[in-house]
Symmetry: none
Subunit: 223 residues, 4 copies
DNA sequence: GATGAATGAGAGTTCATTCAT
DNA sequence: AATGAATGAACTCTCATTCAT
C-alpha cells in the first residue's frame, strides 16, 4: 500500500538505475519497503512516537535488519522526506513546463491542470500532505530547514511560470515575480491544508476556483 | 524577555481575572514565568528535545515544582500554544473590526495596517511564527488538529472582512467568501514563512505589497 | 562488606570532608555503596560482563538511580579504581616514611613491615590485587595508562626509600635508584601475583623472605 | 606487518606439521593470517572493542568466513595468546639451556643474553608485551588464569636456572629456588612494563643492569 | 568453501513522573 | 508549597552468530 495512488505519476523510485544481480535487486526492494513502512508508521503515530521496532515489526523483519539499511532513525526519515518531495515535484513537473504556454488562456488551463494533479496526489493520500506540511518541520531544526528549502524551491518553480507570462505580456509587466510566486504558493498551501480538514472533492474544487479567481482578477470590483 | 515585543498588544495575560491574595498573585506570576520559559526552551531546542528539567533549571526552580503548576509536559505546551494564539489573535483583532471599513480605499488601508501588525508581531519575535507554523503541528495528532483549528479560526476571521466588503459592494458579489478567505490567509502564511528565511523589512514589505496587488487586482493584464 | 578488611587502614573514604545535611550524608552514603557494589560486580564477573542493571539490582536500587550518581559505566570504574589505589597507597604510606629509618637494620624492619601491610591488604581481599593488577588494564587504553601511571607512582615511592638509604650510606652509593626501585617493585608485584594463585600465608612469607634476601644480598655466592 | 620482528626467533608457526595438499596449505595460511590480523586489531583497539567484522574487513574476507576457521570470538583470542606465548617462550629457550652454564661468570653472560633477547622481542613490537601483560588478563576469568599459568611456567623456567646454579655451587645453597625465581621474574616484568612507557634503549639497558646488580649482589653495602 | 543478509538478545542511557521530606 | 531523589519504561543501537545462497 503506502501512498500508492501517487505511484502512477512515475515517482523517483521507478526511475532508479536498475541493479544487476538478483540479490542486489532484493536488497533494493527491502530498502524501498522499509522507507514505505517507515512512512506508514510516521504518518500514523508521528515521528517521535514511532520506534525502530515498530517499523521492523510491521514489516516482519528483525529490528537489527533495519540498521543494515539505514544508519539510524534520523536517516530513515530523511529518506522518507526525500522520497515524498521527489514524488510531488516529479508529478508537478511532468508535462507542465512553463514554456508550453503562450497565452493567458493556455496558462489558465495549465494552472487548472496543475491544481488537478495536486488534488490527485494529495487528495489520493492525505498522509503525504499532512506529513510534509504539518509534521516534518517539527522533527528537528535541520528538518525544519529542509521544509523551508522545499518552499523555496517551490517558489522558484512558480516564479518560472510568472516570469514566462511577464515576458509574453499576458501578466503585469511590473509584477514582483518572486514575491508574487510565494504568495500564490501560499494559496496552494492553504488549499492543501483545507483538503486535510475537508477532504471532499467539492471543497477542493471551490478552493481551486477561488485561488484562480483571486490570482487572475483579484477580489476587488473594477472601478 | 520572551516574545515581549508582542506584549504591547495587550495579550491575553493582562486581561485574566486578577487574583486577590498576595500568595495567589505570586503563584500566577510563577505560572506565567513557567509558560514563558517553556516557550523559550521549546523555541530553542524543540518540544521533544526539551526536558522538564531544562525548563525548571533555566527558571531556577526545582523540577518537582513544575508539576504543581502543570499536569505534565503535554499540558504546558498546550498552554504555551494557547498563549501564543491568543496573543496573535488579540493583536489582529484590536482596532481592526470589519465594520470600521466602508469603502475599498478604507479596506486597503485597513489590510495594510493588519499587515504591519503581523509584521511587528512575527518580525519582532520570529520564534512565535516558527513555533506556531512549523513546529507545533509535529508534536502529536491532537496538537496538529489544534493548529488546523487555528487556521480555521483565522479563515473565519478573514471571511468576516470579505463578507463585509461584498455586502457593501466593493468586493465581487459572487465571491466564494469562505474559500477566498482561506486563499488570502495562505498568502499571509507565505509571507510569514518568507520572513523566517529572510527577516529583513524589505522582503517583508515586498511580500505585503505583492499580496495586496494579487488580492485586489490579480496578476493578469486586463483585456 | 566489600574489601572491608582494608578499611581498618583508614582509607581515603574516612578522610573526606564530612557533609552537613542529613540528606547530603545519605547521598554520600549511597554513592559509596554504589562504588563498593560496582567493585563487587566487576571483581566477580569482570568489567565488560557487568551491566549497570547488575549493580543496581544487587544494591536494590533502580538502575536509573545509578545515573544520578555517576555519568556512565566508564565513570564508575574510574571511581572504583581511584578508591582502590588510594586505599592501597594510604595503607602503605601510613607510618612508613623513608625518613623514619636511619640504618640498614631499621630499613630491613621497615620493609618487612611494608611487606606485612601489603600481605594484609591484598591477602585480606584478593579481589583488590586481582582487579588492579590483572583486569583493570584490559578495560580500555585510558585505563591501561592509569595502571601504568600507578606503577610509575609506586616506583617513585620506592625510589624515595632507596635514595634515603644511599644518602645515609647503607645502600650502594652508585645505585641506579630509579631503575632499582622499579626492579624491587617488580618483585613485589610478583609476590602479589603469587598470592593470587597460592593465597596461603606460607607462600606469602616465603616470597617476602626471598625478596628481601635477593634485595639485600643478591643470590650470588660471595667471591 | 604483525609482530614480525619476533618471527626471526623461529616461533611456533614454522615448526607446525607441514600440510600436504595445496588447498590444505592455503587454508593454513589463511588461518595464520586471521590470527595475525586479529592480534593487530586487538592490539589496536582492545579485545572488547574489536568486532569480528573488523578483523574480516581488514583482511578482506567475509566475516562469515571467519567462522569457518575459528569457533567464535573467544576462540580466536585464545589462539592469538597461544601464538604469542609460544613465540616468547621459544625465543627465550633457544640456545639458553641452563645446562650450558657452569660458572657464575657464564651465568652472568647468559642472563645478559636473555635480557637482550627479551629486549629485542618486546622492544621490537611493544604490542606483544602490552597485550600479554596488560590486556589479556582483563578479557575474562579463564584468560586471567591462562596469564597466571604463563607466569607459573616462566617461574619454573627461571627456577631451572637457579637450581642449576645452586647445584653447581655458584648460587647460595640455601636459596628458596621457587620463590626467588618468581621474584626475579617480577623484576623482568618490571623491566618490560618500564619499556612500555619509556621504549628507548637507554632505559632498557639501565633496567637490565639494575636487575643484574640487585640479583647478584643485592643493594646493601657489605658489612 | 566463501559469503554477507538476517537476526535478536542485550547493552547503555534518558527522562517524565511520583512522592517522601 | 517546594524540592529533588528515586524510578523503570522505553528508547536507540551494536554485534556475535547462523545459514541460505
Amino acid at each position: 500500500m503506502s501512498f500508492s495512488s501517487v505511484r502512477q505519476y512515475a515517482g523517483p523510485m521507478t526511475t532508479e538505475t536498475t541493479p544487476v544481480s538478483r540479490a542486489e535487486r532484493k536488497k533494493q526492494e527491502l530498502r524501498r519497503e522499509i522507507i514505505e513502512t517507515a512512512f506508514d508508521c510516521f504518518a500514523e503515530r508521528g515521528y517521535h512516537a514511532t520506534g525502530i521496532a515498530d517499523i521492523a515489526t510491521r514489516l516482519g523483519i528483525g529490528h537489527g535488519t533495519f540498521y543494515r539499511y539505514f544508519q539510524n532513525k534520523r536517516d530513515i526519515v530523511d529518506h522518507v522526506i526525500t522520497d515524498l518531495v521527489e514524488t510531488v515535484v516529479a508529478a508537478l513537473a511532468a508535462e507542465n513546463a512553463p514554456e508550453a504556454v503562450s497565452s493567458l488562456a493556455e496558462y489558465r488551463v495549465q494552472s487548472a491542470r496543475i491544481g488537478d494533479v495536486l488534488g490527485v496526489i494529495l487528495g489520493g493520500d492525505p498522509r503525504v500532505a499532512r506529513f510534509l506540511l504539518l509534521e516534518a518541520a517539527g522533527i528537528d531544526a535541520e528538518m525544519r530547514e529542509r521544509v523551508l528549502d522545499f518552499y523555496e524551491t517551490a517558489a522558484q518553480l512558480t516564479a518560472g511560470y510568472l516570469h514566462h507570462g511577464v515576458n509574453l505580456g499576458y501578466l503585469h509587466a511590473d509584477l514582483d515575480v518572486d514575491s508574487t510566486a510565494r504568495a500564490i504558493n501560499g494559496m496552494i498551501i492553504a488549499a492543501v491544508l483545507t483538503s486535510l480538514r475537508d477532504p471532499g472533492p467539492d471543497a477542493q474544487a471551490r478552493m481551486s476556483s477561488a485561488i484562480r479567481r483571486v490570482m487572475y482578477d483579484g477580489i476587488a470590483v473594477r472601478a
